[in-house]
């Protein structure tokens, strides 16, 4: 099948408006006869469910958690971008569009990104109207801060809990519609498969996670909004339950999977402390506004620190290497995430790491505390403050800005970051790859849509900070509700879809077979055992830096591990009760297939871009020496994989990316 992105014709700034003016609409009376299923109720799914219900469709929403309020969007800390130019610092729709395309290393679809930038301002208005308590300045107006990869302050925030507040906003909009009966909410339900009738998505099979019951649900369209698949690495900043299953099930039924190898490694996470670790914790990127990143300049100091013979505060300014400020003077500590992550790895690989495992760098607030302390003293009329007073006042400012993050760090590491620099290291965070969608956000399965982190479209090979929340809400509130209407306008005479159709029966049968297999397999190793081994292969060979040899080995090893899993996995308990091991088994089975496709995609992409760093492709000379080397001649495409059974047999389809409004150039932050 040829990939048709369905990007509307015309100048980029007019595409979305023209599109909206010309699509078919469904009249309000007919919307009442149309059902839509939304799987996943985080920022994207929650906002979509609420808006579709408000438009008049009958919405059935599904979440594996006990409430939409638990979705992992809630953990996003730093903020949400919008081109409002409230600060008067030169921001505009075009500049947000430009930063996003450049930040994504020119591997995103221009038209989608422009639309995202265009609706971004509406998101803020919408959320404020819903009662989201964004930070305000003393004049009562909204406050902004800056994030990595940009030169303007366009990030709106609610302390370090922006994701939480935006999600609760979408959740409250859902609650309004649940209360009115327009959304039927299915909590603690997991989607097990999608059902296709005459080639169109017409329903899903779910498992009630409490009773184990397998259920059939029909609809005129299915929306997948189940987030990212970073947990393929086992250790990541994702919630424990985050999984690829819904995306993988639709992939197996015909939806192409795009750019699986684009993974964002977030530079400011709490380092790994031991083998028992179940997940990694992210510290907001906003910390880089004030924290300075450094390692010791001399190897012997780094060693002394690792052995506990020296403390970071023992080293003078000259004995420290502020490597981001040194290498990237224009952006300094605020370089994009992929650049900051690779730079940290480079220093640690060279032996300058500062924790016991040598995999950590410092994020230091001492300078910020002094700077803020002096400023506060002046505000209070003290022109000659003591060092203690400066320290005290400065810490108060830092506490007001980042208090919850500092507390979180202290609880996990048992060290007070006000008095000693934090230790940070990159960790798997967000996945830019996902289901391939066209401009309408529809997958290659007619009637099956995919929104938010679960699709691939807006971030290219790297996601700029504070743009994930923006995409989730843009898709859910403002894009999908239009595009899905165009599709559903052809369905007004279809009537209710029966769940007695043979397609439902067949899908249910195969779901039950897999469940029965798991509970009867009586193997010898737990689900987590396999998940951890998969994660190790992924991190070692498909992680922050990749090469052809490692990727080829990874593909073989994952295949072998998958075979072992199906022979030897042990799932205790029964199928008809609450059984978390059984739920995990199905998810890990899917990760074991995705992992191999992920490595295959990375192997094919013989260039470095964004979150994909191929060791064979680095600049060897000139001002960019050592930086990632992109290859626009051969690789300016989206790789969209078609399922053909084994992941190794997947067929590559290329969507050639066109850049008519932004010139492709080397991404320099120097």
């Amino acid at each position: 099948m040829a990939l048709d992105s369905k990007v509307p014709k015309g100048p980029i700034a007019d595409k979305w408006t023209n599109y909206k003016n010309h699509i078919d609409l469904v009249n309000p009376a007919n919307k009442r006869n149309i059902d839509v299923i939304v799987v996943g109720t985080g920022l994207a799914g929650g906002s979509a469910a609420a808006t579709l219900a408000e438009l008049g469709y009958n919405v059935k929403a599904f979440a594996y958690q006990d409430s939409p309020r638990r979705a992992h969007s809630i953990a996003a800390q730093g903020g949400i971008n919008a081109a409002k130019n409230y600060q008067g610092d030169g921001d505009s729709t075009y500049r947000l569009f430009y930063d996003t395309v450049k930040g994504g290393d020119y591997r995103a679809r221009e038209a989608n990104v422009y639309r995202l930038a265009e609706v971004s301002a509406n998101i803020i208005d919408q959320c404020v109207a819903q009662g989201v308590p964004f930070a305000r300045d003393y004049g009562g107006l909204l406050d902004n801060r800056s994030f990595g990869g940009v030169l303007v302050s366009r990030t709106f925030y609610a302390k370090g809990q922006t994701g939480q507040q935006l999600l609760l906003g979408a959740y409250s909009a859902m609650n309004r519609q649940i209360g009115r009966g327009k959304i039927q909410m299915y909590n603690r339900h997991e989607m097990m498969d999608v059902v296709l009738v005459d080639g169109k998505a017409r329903g899903i099979i779910t498992r009630n996670l409490v009773t184990g019951e397998i259920e059939r649900h029909s609809a005129h369209a299915v929306v997948i909004a189940t987030g990212g698949y970073g947990n393929v690495f086992f250790l990541s900043t994702n919630a424990m339950g985050s999984n690829v299953s819904a995306s993988w099930k639709i992939h197996k039924k015909g939806a192409y999977f795009a750019n699986p190898c684009y993974t964002q490694i977030h530079p400011t996470c709490i380092p790994v402390s031991g083998d028992h670790q179940s997940k990694l914790t992210l510290m907001s990127e906003s910390l880089r506004n004030d924290g300075r990143i450094w390692v010791p300049a001399k190897l012997e100091d780094a060693q002394a620190i690792r052995e506990g013979k020296k403390k970071p505060t023992d080293l003078s300014e000259e004995e420290r290497d502020y490597y981001l400020e040194r290498r990237y003077p224009a952006f300094g500590n605020l370089v994009p995430r992929d650049v900051a992550s690779r730079a940290a790895k480079e220093r640690c690989d060279a032996g300058f790491g500062v924790n016991a495992t040598g995999e950590a760098v410092y994020l230091d607030f001492a300078d910020a505390i002094k700077r803020y302390g002096r400023e506060q003293a002046l505000i209070h009329g003290d022109h000659n403050p003591s060092a203690e007073k400066v320290d005290k006042l400065g810490k108060e400012v830092v506490k007001a800005k980042y208090g919850n993050l500092f507390q979180m760090y202290d609880k996990i590491v048992d060290e007070d970051p006000y008095n000693t620099p934090m230790m940070i290291y990159p960790a798997v965070h967000y996945t830019m790859g996902g289901t391939w969608v066209d401009y309408n956000l529809m997958t290659t399965i007619p009637g099956c849509y995919c929104i938010g982190e679960a699709n691939f479209s807006d971030h290219g090979a790297n996601r700029l900070g504070a743009s994930a929340l923006m995409q989730g809400l843009a898709d859910g509130y403002f894009v999908l509700p239009y595009t899905i209407g165009d599709y559903l306008s052809k369905d007004i005479r279809t009537g209710k879809i029966s769940t007695d159709l043979p397609e439902f029966e067949e899908a249910e049968k195969s779901v039950k077979e897999q469940i029965n297999f798991f509970v009867n397999n009586n193997g010898s190793k737990s689900v987590d055992h396999f998940h951890k081994r998969l994660g190790k292969i992924m991190w070692d060979k498909v992680g922050m830096a990749r090469n052809a040899k490692g990727l080829t080995e990874a593909m073989t090893e994952i295949k072998a591990l998958r075979e072992e899993f199906w022979k030897d996995v042990k799932v205790p308990g029964s199928a008809d009760t609450y059984n978390e091991e059984l739920a995990k088994a199905g998810r890990v089975a899917d990760f074991l297939e995705l992992g191999e496709l992920f490595a295959k995609d990375a192997l094919v992409r013989e260039e470095s871009c964004g979150g994909h760093f191929r060791e064979e492709s680095a600049e060897t000379e000139g001002p960019q020496e050592g930086e990632a080397k992109r290859d626009d001649v051969n690789f300016a495409f989206v790789s969209a994989w078609e399922y053909k059974g084994e992941p190794a047999d997947a067929v590559l389809h290329k969507e050639q990316l066109e850049f008519n409004d932004i010139e492709l150039k080397t991404r320099s932050y120097k």
Binding site: E54, D66, Q130, A135, H276, I412, K570
Partner: protein
């Protein structure tokens, strides 16, 4: 560390349930409490048993999914944290730890340590929102200035993660801290004031219908709240409710 665990096991809402003894060795002080339970579960699975069911997800202290009553305290022996943020360094070698579900009539047990907190959602369905279309055709966000003080106070209330520790720790199983926080968030913002009266009436009515108890100002909820939600929110909720009666 070596620890003895006494864990509540219950097959479902209608099962009687009982405390079961476990022992676990080589616990690292750097483990989180939930990671310690992961290790225990791995041990139970390897011995052919059924792992202990407990709720958890983000493990960053923000999703509000984890629960657990540990040695008689919601989220265990530390202030201002969820169970996933509790680390084993808070315990000593040889300790015996009691682990139970959040007990309240309105939170029926699903299995072992997992309870159904759906009552919180149903309260929200009755008014925990501002009635505004999600069309994006709203006024500019800066056209209605909000004082920093009001925005900060609303934010403090909105910080509630809906974990239910307040209910679990209250001798009356009252949900007033949770409901008070939601009512306050909206009551403090101009956008929320238009329908403030209906909101508080409906949410309080649903709270009562769910079987939560009343507040007798013991203050345990505030002490155990992982997010430091203040009792002031209960006072504000009562004020909002009284206003509707005048």
């Amino acid at each position: 560390m070596n620890l003895k665990l006494k864990i509540w096991r219950q097959n479902g809402a209608n099962d009687a349930g009982k405390m079961v003894d476990y022992s676990i060795s080589n616990v690292s002080p750097d483990m989180s409490f939930l990671e310690m339970l992961d290790v225990l579960n791995e041990q139970i699975i390897n011995e052919g048993g059924e792992p202990v069911a407990f709720d958890h997800d983000c493990r960053e202290g923000i999703c509000g999914m984890c629960s657990l009553f540990i040695n008689g305290e919601a989220h265990g022996p530390d202030r201002g944290i969820t169970t996933c943020q509790l680390h084993m360094r808070k315990f000593k070698d040889g300790d015996t730890i009691y682990i139970e579900p959040f007990r309240a009539k309105a939170f029926p047990v699903i299995k072992d340590l997992v309870v159904d907190r759906g009552a919180f959602d149903r309260i929200q369905h009755q008014g925990g929102f501002i009635s505004v279309n999600t069309s994006g055709n709203t006024q500019d966000a800066n056209s209605l200035p909000i004082s920093k003080h009001a925005a900060d106070e609303a934010m403090d209330a909105a910080t509630c993660i809906g974990c239910g520790a307040c209910v679990a720790t209250c001798k009356n199983s009252s949900a007033m801290l949770f409901v008070g926080a939601k009512v306050s968030q909206y009551a403090l913002l101009p956008q929320g004031q238009v329908e403030a009266a209906d909101r508080v009436r409906n949410m309080v009515a649903q709270m009562d219908a769910e079987g939560f108890g009343n507040c007798t100002n013991t203050g345990a909820c505030e002490v155990e709240c992982p997010k430091g939600i203040s009792l002031d929110n209960i006072a504000r909720m009562n004020r909002e409710l009284f206003k509707t009666m005048i």
